[in-house]
């Protein structure tokens, strides 16, 4: 049975017709064509579908759309704005942390959340924050370099964080 729900995604409000079992991932990809959030496993074990719910990284494949009402949802498409790429995105590019790019949206969002919570993470904190994001291309080496680079940039940046 379909119902209409309202979701706030990337600071825009959307009215959507969903079934109870419709996941947030389906809403993003199939209803809204926001295909930046990826499905690589569908069962919560790869991190490719990571989105930020009230700034916290969560897995869209295991969230029912109807349970995301009244929450602030941020997808990869909602990061960069008029000011261009964020420091995290820039760092990923400059350090060569992007190869096939399929894990990249999930990684970037998780890293963004990590650096928001923990501007100067230790190696252990980085690993614990990213242990749920798989990458098969990079070996994670350049991803960690990008995180350090982004952390450095953010700490010297203006109070707005850019």
């Amino acid at each position: 049975m379909k119902t209409i729900i309202e979701l706030r995604i990337n600071d825009e409000l959307f009215e959507l017709l969903v079934e109870p079992q419709t996941t947030l991932l389906e809403v993003l990809r199939d209803h809204l064509a926001l295909t930046g959030t990826k499905e690589a496993c569908g069962t919560g074990e790869c991190g490719a579908c990571t989105v930020l719910i009230n700034e916290k990284p969560k897995l869209a494949c295991l969230l029912l759309a109807a349970q995301c009402v009244n929450m602030k949802i941020t997808t990869i498409e909602g990061l960069a704005d008029d000011e261009g790429l964020t420091p995290v995105q820039q760092a990923f590019l400059e350090k060569g942390a992007v190869q096939c790019g399929f894990c990249t949206p999930g990684m970037v969002l998780t890293v963004t959340a990590l650096l928001n919570e923990c501007p100067n993470p230790t190696e252990h904190e980085i690993k614990k924050a990213l242990e749920g994001n798989f990458c098969r291309c990079t070996g994670y080496n350049k991803i960690v370099e990008a995180i350090h680079e982004a952390a450095a940039r953010l700490s010297t940046a203006s109070p707005s964080g850019r």
Binding site: T23, K58, L63, A66, L114, K128, G132
Partner: protein
């Protein structure tokens, strides 16, 4: 992968939740964070008509209630790991919560959900459209694929937070058909892999209650995996060590091992080896050996029983050393 169709109910209070449970009985299924329920549904392991989503229920902060730490079962695992009051009084629980899954899963998954984790087996936790088509015991069938000549199910209970609660002598607060019940943690688990915890479909796990200890205590949690992340435990262990005022004679020891049976198991023989003794590296080495001999681990997920024993020995010694180092010293 598709989720089967269901009706979603989203109560705003515990009372509403219990009312709905009472109304729909076995046709309804509680869902907290969804990180166990939803994959199970995608694998075709359950298909409830109603899902009672608890994400709109208020979640209370951990409180000290008459010498007991009271934790809302709906606390996210991230919050459990970070909570100051939990870290002060039950550090092993914070460690265990931090060891679960991944950052995303810890943000979504709850303490209660972890305690109610269904038992697992490689053959079981996958779809059965062209592999293992005939249902096994846990799927209400008549066979076991893991031990083909076996007459029982060998699924194991792997949740990380449960062994800690055993070692802390905790209990859980349950609403059973609406009426409150307090169940000691070692009675909460049945040992039956087909139905690992005593909750029926109408019950709701609302809180965890941990006695606050005022003596000299150190706790530790250890989890063994191959990768170090995004993996259920091959074996996990929770240790609580209390010492007398001299700071080195053991007055109480609790060692609970998980993931090697359908329920966490207290290693009572190993515990008794420690009680009354002066804590030392040699003692911890002995304890490791005793622990490895004390139980027969159920092999699972590719790990053999003998290997799990070897891990248990190592893990026990390490966890005891770690717990010992956390005992406050004057």
């Amino acid at each position: 992968m598709l989720l089967p169709r269901f009706q979603l109910l989203q109560p705003k209070s515990i009372e509403q939740a219990t009312e709905l449970l009472g109304k729909h009985e076995a046709a309804a299924r509680i869902m907290a964070g969804g990180t166990d329920v939803l994959p199970r549904m995608k694998y075709g392991l359950e298909s409830p008509s109603y899902v009672i989503g608890l994400s709109n229920l208020p979640v209370f902060e951990p409180v000290d209630s008459d010498g007991f730490l009271l934790l809302d079962s709906l606390m996210s695992l991230t919050d459990v790991a970070r909570s100051e009051i939990i870290r002060q009084n039950a550090f092993g629980l914070a460690e265990a919560a931090y060891a679960v899954g991944s950052y995303q899963i810890r943000n979504m998954g709850t303490l209660g959900g972890n305690l109610c984790l269904e038992t697992r087996c490689m053959y079981y936790n996958q779809q059965h459209s062209y592999q293992f088509v005939e249902p096994c015991f846990k799927r209400n069938g008549d066979r076991c694929y893991f031990i083909p000549k076996g007459k029982q199910c060998w699924a194991v209970f792997v949740a990380d937070t449960a062994p800690v609660l055993f070692s802390l002598d905790a209990s859980v607060e349950v609403l059973s058909n609406g009426s409150p019940k307090r169940i000691p943690i070692d009675e909460f688990y049945t040992g039956n892999p087909l139905h690992p915890c005593t909750l029926s479909r109408q019950d709701l796990l609302v809180a965890v209650r941990i006695p606050i200890n005022s003596g000299l205590r150190g706790t530790a949690f250890s989890k063994f995996t191959i990768r170090g992340g995004l993996e259920f435990a091959a074996i996990n262990l929770a240790v609580v060590l209390d010492v007398q005022e001299d700071g080195s004679t053991c007055s109480n020891a609790r060692i609970t091992v998980g993931a090697v049976a359908a329920t966490p198991i207290r290693l009572k023989k190993t515990e008794s080896l420690l009680i009354g003794q002066k804590l030392s590296d040699d003692l911890f080495n002995d304890a490791g050996r005793t622990a490895a001999d004390e139980i027969r681990p159920i092999p699972h997920h590719g790990f053999s029983a003998s290997y799990l024993k070897a891990c248990l020995r190592s893990l026990t010694r390490d966890a005891l050393t770690s717990a010992c180092s956390r005992i406050p010293r004057h």
